[in-house]
Symmetry: C2
Subunit: 123 residues, 2 copies
């Protein structure tokens, strides 16, 4: 899904390459890992089910059952998505008896959402 940064051969048969531009840009590119991490972070938000769950939890702590009713989805589907959100530390949970309550892990979500919501609005 990515490539290292040396090829420069066989990948392009062009003759009108702007080598100076390429060299300059290469010097300004961030670490490859950073760009991969960024893409992965964005991908988490790139699903409307997860976005809906995060908006719901932004409003109030909820159990899996509540969320599944709110979103009109099975508990299983919701649980799978909660697991993904938990893996990247966007949500946390506490267990009371057999009920598991989920909530936002921190304010990161709100920050990112409001920053990007403006962008979406403008398009």
């Amino acid at each position: 899904m990515q490539q290292s940064f040396m090829p420069e051969i066989a990948v392009c048969d062009c003759e009108s390459i702007h080598e100076d531009v390429i060299a300059a840009v290469r010097g300004q590119m961030p670490e490859e890992d950073l760009m991969i991490d960024m893409a992965e972070a964005f991908r988490i938000f790139g699903d409307s089910t997860r976005v809906r769950i995060l908006f719901a939890l932004k409003a109030h702590e909820m159990c899996v059952c509540d969320i599944s009713v709110l979103l009109g989805m099975t508990k299983s589907a919701v649980s799978h998505q909660l697991r993904i959100l938990k893996q990247v530390n966007l949500v946390k949970h506490r267990k009371v008896g057999r009920v598991v309550y989920y909530s936002l892990a921190d304010e990161h979500v709100e920050t990112i959402f409001s920053a990007c919501m403006e962008h979406v609005m403008e398009e």
Copy 2:
């Protein structure tokens, strides 16, 4: 890929539903369309090839061939991704002879990138 918001039946067999919480949260949820648009916007950034292209163009206007050399990818692969970025108005292009120069369409990208880069760093 989404659901409308009335089911409330058959989707959850729970008996320990917090109906008051669900009602309150439902009142605070944004428009369904907004959440879908947000997810779609995030999905664009959710691929490392596109992120790398955007970082490259942030540094300098480039032709397809330059980008393909820089990233070590075929012109075709790059062109396909540029088309996606063009569709959502993140990049623009100008044609000089048979060379097509791409550049960022506005400062949106930089705003979003810097806002979200912090988030990625912190994790």
